[in-house]
């Protein structure tokens, strides 16, 4: 059985591929594989980056650096925006550089868990976080235990996680079975991201450099992932090992639990509460885009004038 999905239609192969026409670069981003860094570089080198849009975004993006994933900020079109003929021409032309990146599946799974589940960044994991509760030791979070619970839940309820592309196998995105990649780098190996930057510099004449966005908690994978957990993840992502020939890393048979301090646990709680609130604010903000809302605003403005500013006198009251 193939390590890649059966669907080899152009749409399936290039759904996420971004196009930088000036540089003649195609980039197929894989989440949790330095895609934020690479997109920033690509948009900067292509000259399409628009930072003025950032304050106007209403999506629940939890960090400024993550706004690059918005098409208005990056200014990069998708390959699917082009006709099939144009897309095929780009994919097959020797003038175009097709770039993609890969990462050790266990490290990627840890990064996805830490970001999407542990820190609650907005995602689409079915069943919320019930499948992956924190493991607590005296009221403090045990990262080792919590990550192990996730690995088990992922293995047992894989479909629930696969709605979120952060958890989908890399072989579902990087389709070496059907598409030619001119530059396929391992971002967790020295010089991986730098080699992409060098290509972007050469093609754009700019001096783009990779920047670390440093949004993780800074925990070493070997400190929280034991052999049992790693084996579960390797089994879940077996197709990635098969498709890309990743080496199966060795992990310690048993680990001392990595237990957060009281202050760290409290900070994680605060972050989660704020993420939850940002989601609400974003949803509320997005509801202010409709003809009905517009009509209410007109009525309120009229009433405000009629009452000499007594009614709806603050932006808070204008919002309803």
């Amino acid at each position: 059985m193939s390590a890649f999905p059966a669907d080899t239609s152009l749409a399936a192969l290039t759904r996420k591929t971004l196009v930088a026409p000036r540089m003649k670069v195609l980039y197929t981003p894989t989440t949790k594989v330095a895609s934020t860094t690479i997109k920033w570089m690509l948009a900067e080198a292509e000259g399409t980056l628009d930072l003025t849009v950032i304050p106007r975004l209403m999506a629940a993006i939890t960090n400024r650096s993550q706004t690059i994933h918005n098409r208005h900020v990056s200014g990069l079109a998708k390959l699917s925006d082009y006709s099939d003929r144009e897309a095929r021409a780009m994919l097959e032309s020797a003038d175009w550089l097709h770039v993609a990146a890969l990462r050790d599946p266990v490290a990627r799974a840890y990064s996805a868990w830490e970001n999407r589940i542990f820190m609650r960044a907005s995602g689409r994991v079915a069943g919320g976080f019930e499948l992956t509760p924190d493991v607590l030791v005296d009221g403090r979070i045990d990262m080792t235990g919590s990550f192990a619970v996730f690995a088990k839940a992922l293995a047992e309820h894989t479909d629930a996680f696969m709605l979120d592309h952060h958890f989908t196998p890399q072989s579902h995105v990087v389709r070496t079975d059907a598409v030619r990649y001119d530059l396929l780098v391992r971002v967790d190996q020295p010089g991986g991201v730098d080699s992409i930057a060098a290509q972007f510099r050469a093609r754009s004449g700019t001096n783009v450099q990779p920047r670390r966005h440093n949004e993780s908690m800074g925990v070493d994978l070997g400190r929280v992932c034991n052999r049992d957990t790693a084996n579960r993840l390797m089994a879940t992502y077996a197709m990635d090992y098969e498709a890309f020939g990743f080496a199966r890393r060795e992990f310690a048979e048993s680990l001392e639990p990595y237990v957060l301090s009281d202050a760290e646990t409290q900070l994680v709680t605060l972050v989660r509460q704020s993420v939850e609130r940002v989601g609400s604010v974003s949803r509320a903000a997005q509801s202010k885009m409709s003809a009905r809302y517009g009509l209410r605003q007109i009525r309120k403005s009229f009433m405000r004038k009629l009452t000499f500013g007594r009614m709806y006198s603050t932006p808070r009251s204008m919002h309803w």
Binding site: M58, S274, A285
Partner: protein, 318 residues
């Protein structure tokens, strides 16, 4: 407070009333006001937590949305007629409540929340004035809090626009309001006893739930005698007005250095809050007739083009 403002009018603008259970509450920020508002709104039956989902205003958590009038549902004293206001302020049937707290604990709590965690859109300038202090390249909570106490002591004015830093005596105004109850929130059982009184008046079983939204660092761990003395001087009027005991503080406190992960989490929290303020601001810009006309025009075009999908959340509108 504007120098020419009528002080009673200012109090009336801040005080909340629960007409059904006849309680007036003057909220003091960082003196359990979130808990007390929640208790009061639950007892009065005016609490509408579901409204939080419709608010495009950033609060640090869903629990904090209780501060929004649409969520707590309690009118302000100012919203009542003059006759009603007089009754609230003078009738023995009404319970007039305020809460107070040891000024140093309160100053620490305000600093931690508003300045250190940047948990409010208006405190960016204050955070620049009372910046982080690093020791050996790590954020030092003890030194950062000491720096805040110094900056506040040297020039309190920039901070006083924020109620969280105002002396409690200026907010509570016991010289103007004849309070039936002053809740000392840092003394054991005081909030619970307030909840019991409110339960009796409402006929409901109300329990005060503790909201743990700080870093969990005790003020004693980061405040030395020098810092405490500065704060006692800044909040001198609170000691005079409410007779707070001047606590003893150690001459020297070991630096409280944040670990690598703690620093990352604090940075993440600050970025998250900055981003959410941006969303909230953008949302608040979307008011007024002109915006309304724009939305109607867009709606009309969508109708003409038979677009039925909801607006894409990624969409950026002019």
């Amino acid at each position: 407070m504007a120098p020419d403002a009528d002080p009673l009018r200012v109090v009336a603008g801040l005080a909340l009333v629960a007409p059904r259970i006849k309680v007036m509450y003057l909220p003091t920020p960082k003196a359990a006001c979130t808990t007390i508002k929640s208790v009061l709104a639950a007892a009065e039956g005016s609490h509408r937590p579901e409204m939080a989902e419709r608010l495009a205003v950033m609060h640090v958590s869903q629990a904090q949305t209780i501060h929004h009038p649409r969520v707590h549902g309690l009118p302000r004293l100012d919203d009542l007629s003059k006759r009603e206001q007089h009754e609230v302020l003078h009738s023995p049937d009404w319970l007039r409540v305020a809460s107070v707290r040891d000024p140093i604990s309160r100053a620490y709590s305000a600093w931690e929340n508003r300045i250190f965690l940047r948990a409010h859109r208006r405190t960016t300038k204050l955070a620049e004035l009372a910046h982080d202090v690093l020791t050996d390249g790590k954020v030092d909570l003890t030194a950062s809090f000491a720096n805040f106490a110094k900056v506040l002591g040297d020039d309190a004015d920039p901070f006083m626009a924020d109620h969280h830093f105002q002396p409690q005596s200026l907010l509570v105004r016991p010289d103007l309001v004849n309070y039936s109850l002053l809740v000392r929130v840092d003394q054991a059982g005081e909030i619970d006893s307030f909840a019991r009184i409110v339960s009796e008046r409402s006929g409901k079983q109300i329990v005060a739930s503790r909201l743990n939204e700080g870093l969990g660092v005790k003020v004693e761990r980061v405040c030395d005698a020098h810092t405490a003395n500065r704060l006692m001087a800044t909040y001198e009027m609170d000691y005079e007005t409410f007779g707070f005991t001047r606590r003893s503080w150690p001459a020297i406190v070991e630096p409280y250095l944040l670990g690598d992960m703690e620093s990352r989490l604090v940075t993440h929290y600050r970025s998250l809050f900055a981003r959410s303020i941006s969303v909230s601001r953008e949302s608040q810009r979307r008011v007024g007739a002109r915006y309304g006309f724009g939305q109607m025009r867009r709606g009309f075009w969508r109708l003409l083009r038979r677009e039925h999908d909801p607006y894409d959340p990624r969409e950026v509108q002019p």
